[in-house]
Symmetry: C2
Subunit: 211 residues, 2 copies
């Protein structure tokens, strides 16, 4: 059926282009011509550009959240095994596994997640916190006992610091990797970067108790 194909092609093109340039900087004309469909197709199938942006996120996030929930479920059954680092690794593992270990797609979507925080798309932040707020809270509830001695304030600020580290790295993933290669002559493998990032966040988080 032609419909499905058009919708998918738009989503594929939009995902890549948004990740490369950002939302506002990617015009519907660029998306539709890349996808090889008519300009009006976006408004016909999705209603608006905003709805297209949300659809791109939904297509990626829904399976991801389901997978993370599944992994956290297993964790909850053995509360003693919960450490900060293990919790962080749930996320990185899930992102990597859930879409067929496709590193390109994963890094592209990391950038999208970063942009979602970063670019002024209030509708998108609303959509995300509305649809995915629950899993955020669940994650927070698991994190709390892994950081004994941390007050609510400690927890809030340090999780957001860690979030910021991840978001920034995601948003600038390719740029950073290019800079690193320029700098050190080494092309750091993705897994290496994820490991370093996890270590960094875990040690920052673990020092969460203030003073």
């Amino acid at each position: 059926m032609a419909q499905k194909e058009t919708v998918e092609r738009i989503l594929d093109a939009a995902e890549v282009l948004f990740a490369e340039r950002g939302f506002a900087e990617t015009s519907l004309r660029t998306i539709t011509s890349t996808a090889g469909v008519n300009l009006a197709a976006v408004n016909y199938h999705f209603g608006s550009k905003k709805a297209l942006i949300q659809a791109v996120f939904e297509r990626f996030l829904d399976p991801l959240v389901e997978d993370i929930n599944y992994r956290l479920e297993k964790f909850s059954q053995d509360p003693e095994s919960i450490t900060v680092e293990a919790l962080l690794r749930v996320l990185s593992a899930s992102v990597y596994e859930v879409h067929g270990r496709n590193t390109n797609r994963a890094t592209a979507f990391m950038r999208l997640l970063g942009l979602a925080y970063t670019q002024s798309q209030a509708h998108l932040r609303n959509y995300i916190s509305e649809h995915y707020g629950e899993i955020f809270q669940r994650y927070g509830r698991l994190l709390k006992p892994a950081l004994p001695g941390a007050t609510a304030e400690d927890l809030f600020w340090h999780t957001h610091f860690a979030l910021g580290t991840a978001i920034f790295t995601m948003s600038n993933f390719d740029a950073l990797r290019a800079m690193a290669e320029n700098d050190t002559g080494q092309r750091t493998p993705v897994n290496d970067i994820v490991d370093r990032l996890t270590t960094f966040m875990a040690s920052g988080l673990s020092n969460a108790s203030h003073d």
Copy 2:
């Protein structure tokens, strides 16, 4: 002289508005009407919107860099005193002190610095790395001996993680503070946030050596 006044009023208005909404989201019409000057004044005095953006950064960054250089100079004379945390505190102290301990202006400009990384303004990133790349390198040279055992790769990635933490917190400073107040009922003082941030970055950085 009317010229100086117009230029200053444009810069003042632009600094605040850019920090609030971002660069692309702030039109010249909004800037000029807020500043109480004619629409054409921006193009007359600065040449273009891009040049205005750069001028906003230049007005803030030039004194800041001078101050940071002065502080680093004193540091270099006593190499044994250089710790990661002390180096980080050079930056926060300088941002706070250099423009008259004006917390509002400092937080506004923090957001601008975040946006500079975050929003797609290639010209701005080029401008910054061209004009302020030297002090970056100087800072890196001081940081290196404070992190014994770290390879060049370690250093690159972990400093950029720390940078990301700071940038993200800066970019979303007001939003985060509002969320924290909502969450915990406490209105965290600026100095407190800076302290926590410094601690977080320092402990992440100090674990920089990879395995």
